[in-house]
């Protein structure tokens, strides 16, 4: 019982970096031209492994998809998304898993990957970065226009369509940008910058939502 009580207490205590923006996001989304919202508490794991190693293969099996090796590509497998961040680095996104004990074993995604990685060969790191960044969804016919105000990448659908991701700058913050659907993007930003990025997006969207 005590355990259960603690778990309830914990989820009540959890506060996402953009919890305070919910109402403003809703207002900005009301007109239909744009949808802006935070997707809080996604499980996020930073994975470092040699893509050619047996460990990478085992991890791929655990994820249900081979790790994408083409720079800037993102693959989805069920409710998981794997983003290419670097030649030996990926960000694995999954649904909110509530809260596991720090450092404890369990059935969570991180533990599954650590187990898959094994310790026999090579070296693999799986670091929980779920609270390091938060996720914003920006969707709608003008989503690309909003991003183009602060992102120097070519976001043309032929260049940055669904299945593409990039680490880049949005305004003056580093972000991971993911094209989910033709007109739907995820913007992953560091928690400390989240307020800045949210304020910036709301300001950049003003022209399209009023």
């Amino acid at each position: 019982m005590a355990e259960r009580r603690n778990a309830d207490r914990r989820s009540a205590d959890r506060r996402s970096p953009l919890a305070g923006f919910a109402a403003r996001f809703e207002t900005a989304s009301a007109g239909g031209a744009l949808r802006l919202a935070e997707i809080p508490f996604l499980t996020q794991l930073n994975l470092r492994v040699d893509a050619k190693s047996p460990a990478a293969e085992r991890i791929g099996r655990a994820l249900g998809t081979t790790l994408p090796v083409e720079p800037g590509s993102a693959v989805r497998s069920g409710d998981l998304t794997v983003l290419w961040l670097g030649p030996d680095e990926w960000l694995v996104l999954g649904p909110d898993e509530g809260e596991a004990e720090i450092g404890a074993g369990g059935a969570g995604l991180r533990d599954r990957l650590v187990e898959a990685a094994g310790s026999a060969d090579g070296h693999v790191s799986v670091v929980d970065v779920s609270a390091q960044r938060t996720t914003l969804v920006l969707a709608g016919a003008r989503a690309r226009d909003v991003l183009a105000h602060g992102c120097a990448l070519d976001l043309h659908p032929r260049v940055f369509g669904p299945g593409r991701c990039a680490q880049t700058l949005l305004a003056r913050a580093q972000v991971v940008l993911v094209a989910r659907e033709t007109d739907e993007f995820w913007v992953l930003c560091r928690s400390s910058f989240a307020g800045y990025v949210a304020e910036w997006l709301l300001d950049a969207a003003a022209e399209y939502v009023t």
Binding site: P71, G72, L85, G86, P87, E89, A152, L153, A166, Q167, T168, L169, Q174
Partner: protein
Amino acid sequence: MLLIPCPWCGPRDEIEFHYGGQAHVAYPEDPAALSDEEWARYLFFRDNPKGRFAERWSHSAGCRRWFNVVRDTATNEIHAVYRIGEPRPVIA
């Protein structure tokens, strides 16, 4: 705003990169064996040519990889981009 071709991510704006100075300046094998002058040469002396220059860049706002670039310091034209550990390419 240079357009620097990251060997991994492709061309990105210069603002996403950090400059790392002259390439192929290796950390000495055994610093203790060097004279003060030799050590000072490693620490403080770099080439500064007008023309082609092999230099290091890091895609710091992207994939965070270091790589080498041969850039013409007078025209900013980038003649070659190659990964760390690869030899400086011969450019005609």
